[in-house]
Every structure is written in structure tokens, then in C-alpha cells.
């Protein structure tokens, strides 16, 4: 048990160090608001993509509807902070977004999660589009014009902490009894069921957890950007999250981080290429996939535990 404390401590120190590093860089002026913008976008994408990776990579359920849940969180925050324009209101709005997205995920997931593969993908895509179209036609959401002048409560420290928190939740979920159950569903539903795993329940658990982190990302997106519109949450947004997951490696959270950073930086750098940016982006995407078919990192994970035990083994060998 002492070992566990040690590993957790290392992770904690890494997170705090990362925070200080960023803070210092901002104070020194290395990170200006342009780079900060990029980092925040990357952070939000990490939250979205780890959640989707949980659903696709670990539970093996091909969902293409992540943007819909993101939209729920974003609009919850936009609407709530319009009247309750305080940090408290903002955190309450995140919570409300999570609750609504959980309900939506249950409504979508209970019937559709029995579908397989591409059929599930298209059903979840449809569900997400339905959410978007409803938002597009509602009064409270501002319709197609979306909402702007949303008060900004999510600055980069908020996003940083939320990235840490959601990642901790998802990673701890994966490395636990729940995560094993979810992975067994991915591997073989029939065998899992025969071993006492309630397949429906665990699929749903992963789906709901992924959806609620997407809602958190949506809240951050709305509050940081201060403007949202239904078109931000279309099929293309779901696809761009999927791209991060696959590019990083389906089933690797570390990979998701790497891919989110790589794509985020790539996208920002390409901003200098004007009209060619999307052409280069597309070509890069194809080439990476052809030369790295299982994603940048495959299923490799960074693990402090493994590093420790490896160095220990080395010591033993040397002595």
C-alpha cells in the first residue's frame, strides 16, 4: 500500500509541477494569449477524447455522438451563467450539464447500445444530431444564432484542473474492477456475460461516464470561448474528437494526450498557411494513419508503477 501512495504522489507532483511550469511561462511571457488559447483548446480536446476513448477503446462501443453531449454541457453553462453570473453559478452549471448529459446518455444508450459496430456509430451520430437540431430550434438556447457574451469563468487554471480531474476519474475507472469489466465486454460479450458480467450495465456505465466528461468539456468550452452555436457541435466535431482518439491509439489514454497535443499544435501552426491549412491537415492525417495504423502509441500507457518496478529490477540485476 505504501507503494501505491508513492505512485500517486509522483503523479500529483507531476500535475502540480505542470501547473507551476505553465504559470511561470505565462508570467515570464513565453506563453501569450495565443498559445494559451491553443493550450486550453488542447486541454478541452483531451477531456473530450479521453472520454471517447473510454467508450471506443476500452468498452469497444463505436460512438460517433460525442459532440451532442458536449453541446449539453456547453448550453447548460451558457444558460445558467447568464442569470447566475458567479463562479458558484459556473460550477453549478457544470454539475447541471453533467446531470442532463447523464440523462441524455441513458436515453440514448439504453436502446442503442445493443447495436453493433457501425450501426451503433450511426445511431449515436443520429442521436447527437437530434440533440443539436433541438438546440437549434429552441428559444432558450438562442436558436441558430447561439449564445454569446457568456461570462468567462473558465480560465486556463480551471481547464488545467478539470483535465487532471477528469483524467484521474477515467484512468482510475479503467484501472479498477469497473475497467476490467468494461474491457471484458470489448473482448467478448458472450464470455463476459457467462462470467457474471452484466454487459448492458457496463457498456452503459462507460457510455455515461464518457458523456458526462464530454459535458464538462462543453461547459469549459462555452465559458472560455464565451460564445457557442449549434454548428459547433455537429457531426464534424464528433469526427474530430474521434480522429484524436484513433490517432493517439485506440485504448491508450497516454496516446490520446499525445495526439491531442500533436493535432492541437499542428492546427495552430497551420494557421499560418491560410487556405492550404486544411489540405495539409488532411494529408498529414492520411500519412500518419498509413504509417502508424494503430495510432501514435498503439495501446502503450505511461505508468509510474512500471517505471519504478523496471528500475528496481535493473538495480537488482546490477547488484
Amino acid at each position: 500500500m505504501k507503494a501505491n501512495v508513492k505512485y500517486n504522489l509522483v503523479w500529483l507532483i507531476m500535475m502540480v509541477a505542470g501547473f507551476y511550469l505553465m504559470n511561470t511561462l505565462i508570467l515570464v511571457g513565453v506563453i501569450d494569449s495565443f498559445i494559451e488559447n491553443m493550450l486550453v483548446t488542447i486541454g478541452i480536446n483531451i477531456i473530450l477524447a479521453t472520454g471517447l476513448n473510454l467508450i471506443i477503446g476500452f468498452a469497444g462501443q463505436f460512438s460517433l455522438g460525442h459532440a451532442g453531449f458536449m453541446a449539453i454541457g456547453a448550453y447548460a453553462t451558457a444558460i445558467v451563467t447568464q442569470t447566475a453570473s458567479t463562479p458558484g453559478g459556473f460550477y453549478a452549471s457544470i454539475f447541471i450539464g453533467i446531470v442532463i448529459s447523464i440523462i441524455a446518455a441513458l436515453i440514448v444508450g439504453v436502446p442503442t447500445l445493443r447495436l453493433r459496430g457501425d450501426y451503433l456509430a450511426i445511431a449515436t451520430m443520429g442521436a447527437s444530431e437530434i440533440i443539436r437540431i433541438l438546440i437549434n430550434n429552441m428559444k432558450i438556447t438562442g436558436g441558430a444564432a447561439g449564445m454569446f457574451n457568456i461570462p468567462q469563468f473558465a480560465d486556463w487554471p480551471t481547464v488545467y484542473i478539470m483535465v487532471c480531474v477528469t483524467t484521474i476519474i477515467i484512468v482510475n475507472f479503467i484501472h479498477s474492477r469497473a475497467g476490467r469489466a468494461v474491457k471484458s465486454v470489448r473482448e467478448d460479450e458472450i464470455a463476459a456475460e457467462a462470467m457474471g458480467i452484466n454487459v448492458t450495465k457496463w457498456k452503459l456505465a462507460a457510455f455515461v461516464l464518457g458523456a458526462s466528461t464530454a459535458a464538462v468539456a462543453g461547459s469549459l468550452h462555452a465559458s472560455y470561448l464565451q460564445t457557442i452555436a449549434p454548428n459547433d457541435f455537429g457531426i464534424m466535431e464528433s469526427i474530430s474528437i474521434l480522429i484524436i482518439v484513433v490517432l493517439g491509439g485506440v485504448g491508450s489514454i497516454t496516446g490520446t494526450f499525445v495526439a491531442a497535443v500533436v493535432l492541437g499544435v499542428l492546427d495552430t501552426v497551420l494557421q499560418n498557411f491560410g487556405a492550404l491549412r486544411m489540405v495539409i491537415y488532411a494529408a498529414a492525417l492520411i500519412l500518419i494513419m498509413i504509417f502508424k495504423p494503430s495510432g501514435l502509441l498503439g495501446t502503450w500507457e505511461l505508468s509510474i508503477k512500471k517505471i519504478f518496478s523496471r528500475s528496481k529490477r535493473k538495480e537488482r540485476v546490477e547488484s
Binding site: 443520429g126 489540405v279 491537415y281 488532411a282 498509413i290 495510432g295
Partner: protein
């Protein structure tokens, strides 16, 4: 009553367009289980090809159509060769991302090279409207409807009656076994892509002619709709794609005619989900149970 029949015609002609595109999706999916995201963009290429050859080289309709099919087929084969073939043994989701990449590349590449402006498609066939009992139908609508039906039957014949069709079916069931009995898998898959993409090329010219407006992003929306149609009909099934296309066309028309135009896509997706819940593999899809 006239309005009702007119709406049926509207629905059928919209449906025939979706069906035309869905056929290509379903063929490719049937053989390599890949959602060929770039299919809608091959349709766009076909439309642009038609636009240029008619305007610049003054092709007539038939030669524009046939050459667009050739261009579609060629681009389909090239895309398959460079982007999908290296990934045939990789997870399917990888190939899907590549397909999305190809789609982005075609859309943005065309925008970059030829600008993203909308163009008017040359009206090479003069539109003639027929009034039949108060219902209006144009010669181009009939042309598209007939083409969609003929192509469907033709495809079905190719798949069921020809040697190539047999090879295609064999590869789709079990590529390794097909290879063992002497079927050239690469050649068969290329052929399927050529066939499916030729359909998209033809659709580009026909739809360009019908709507008279083409742009580099024109493949995106109908591409997704056609894909939904293919799934609805049971992806991999040729009659399924047509039926799915017509269902979605008629459904969209119906929803708009009762005044819910703002929700037309939502209703389409809702019906899709409901149908999938009842028939998990679409209307004509075979729901293969896993053997325990």
C-alpha cells in the same frame, strides 16, 4: 390530393438521388466493411468533371456522363490503392479515419485549386415539365429516377450473375478463403471501388444537372444522408440501399410537407434509430448471430 401526389413525386425524386449515392456506399461497405467517407466527394469530383468538360470541351450529355463515370471509377481506384489498401490488415477504425482524411483532402484541395464558390451547372438538357393530372414532373426527375432503378437492377445482376459478382461476394464473406480458391482479392476490391465510384461520378453529373449548382463541399451533406440511407436499408445490400434512399427521401418530404421542416433531419435520424432497434442490421441486412 394533388398536393399529396406532388409530394410523393418530390419524395421519390429526392429519394432517387439518395439511392443513387447509397448504392456506391453499400458496394464498398459490402466488400471491405469500410465506411467510405470519401464517396460523397467522388460524387463532387464527378460533378466538377461534368462541369468542365461540358463548358470547355462542349461534351454532350451522354459523353459527359460516361466520362464522369470513368473519372469517378479512376479516382475511386486510385484512392483505394493509396489510402485504403495499405490498411487492409489494420483495424477498421484506422481505415475509417483515413477515409475521413481523404474526404477532407478532396474537399479542401478542390476548394484551394478551384475556389469554394458555387457554380451553375451547364443546362445541357433542357428541362421540360410534364403536367399529369395536376402533378408536375420534369424530364430530369424522370431521368434520375429511371437511372437509379436501372443501375440498381444492373448492379444486382452483376453481383448475382457474373463471375466478378461471385468473386465480390466471396471476398465479402471471407477474403482469405476467396484467395485460396484463386480469386484475386486486390483486383476484385479495385473493381468494386471502380463500380461504386463510377456510380458516384454519374450521380454527380445527374444531380448537378438537376439542381444546377455545384461546389466543392456539395458531397458532405448528401454523403452523410446517403450513408444513413445505406445503413437503414442494411448496409451491404443493393436493394437495401435503394429502399433506404427512397424511404429517407419520402420521409424528409413528408416531414416538411406537414410543416416540421426545421426538424426534418431530426425526424430522419429518429426513424433510423427506431428501425435499427427493431431490425439491428437494417431492413435488408442479415443479422448474423455469433456462433457460441
Amino acid at each position: 390530393m394533388e398536393t399529396f401526389f406532388q409530394q410523393i413525386i418530390n419524395g421519390l425524386s429526392l429519394g432517387s438521388i439518395y439511392a443513387l449515392l447509397a448504392l456506391g456506399y453499400t458496394m464498398v461497405y459490402g466488400i471491405i466493411k469500410l465506411i467510405n467517407f470519401a464517396h460523397g466527394d467522388i460524387y463532387m469530383l464527378g460533378a466538377f468533371w461534368g462541369y468542365y468538360v461540358i463548358n470547355v470541351w462542349h461534351f454532350n450529355f451522354i459523353s459527359a456522363l460516361l466520362s464522369a463515370m470513368l473519372v469517378g471509377a479512376a479516382s475511386g481506384v486510385i484512392i483505394e490503392y493509396f489510402a485504403y489498401r495499405p490498411l487492409r490488415r489494420s483495424p477498421r477504425i484506422t481505415a475509417l479515419i483515413t477515409a475521413i482524411g481523404v474526404s477532407f483532402l478532396l474537399e479542401n484541395g478542390m476548394s484551394y485549386l478551384f475556389s469554394s464558390n458555387t457554380r451553375d451547372f451547364p443546362q445541357i438538357i433542357k428541362q421540360v415539365n410534364y403536367h399529369i393530372g395536376g402533378v408536375l414532373i420534369s424530364n430530369i426527375q424522370i431521368l434520375i429516377l429511371v437511372t437509379a432503378c436501372v443501375l440498381m437492377v444492373l448492379l444486382q445482376l452483376i453481383i448475382k450473375k457474373t463471375k466478378m459478382g461471385r468473386a465480390m461476394r466471396a471476398v465479402s464473406v471471407d477474403p482469405d478463403a476467396a484467395e485460396l480458391v484463386g480469386i484475386n482479392i486486390n483486383w476484385t476490391i479495385s473493381f468494386t471501388f471502380a463500380l461504386g465510384s463510377a456510380l458516384a461520378g454519374a450521380a454527380g453529373v445527374l444531380i448537378g444537372l438537376y439542381y444546377n449548382s455545384i461546389d466543392p463541399l456539395m458531397g458532405m451533406t448528401p454523403g452523410i444522408k446517403a450513408f444513413v440511407a445505406a445503413v437503414l436499408g442494411g448496409i451491404g445490400s443493393v436493394p437495401g440501399a435503394s429502399v433506404g434512399g427512397f424511404i429517407i427521401g419520402i420521409l424528409e418530404t413528408f416531414v416538411q410537407s406537414i410543416g416540421l421542416s426545421a426538424y426534418k433531419d431530426a425526424v430522419v435520424y429518429f426513424v433510423l434509430i427506431v428501425i435499427l432497434l427493431i431490425l439491428p442490421a437494417g431492413i435488408f441486412g442479415k443479422n448474423t448471430k455469433e456462433k457460441v
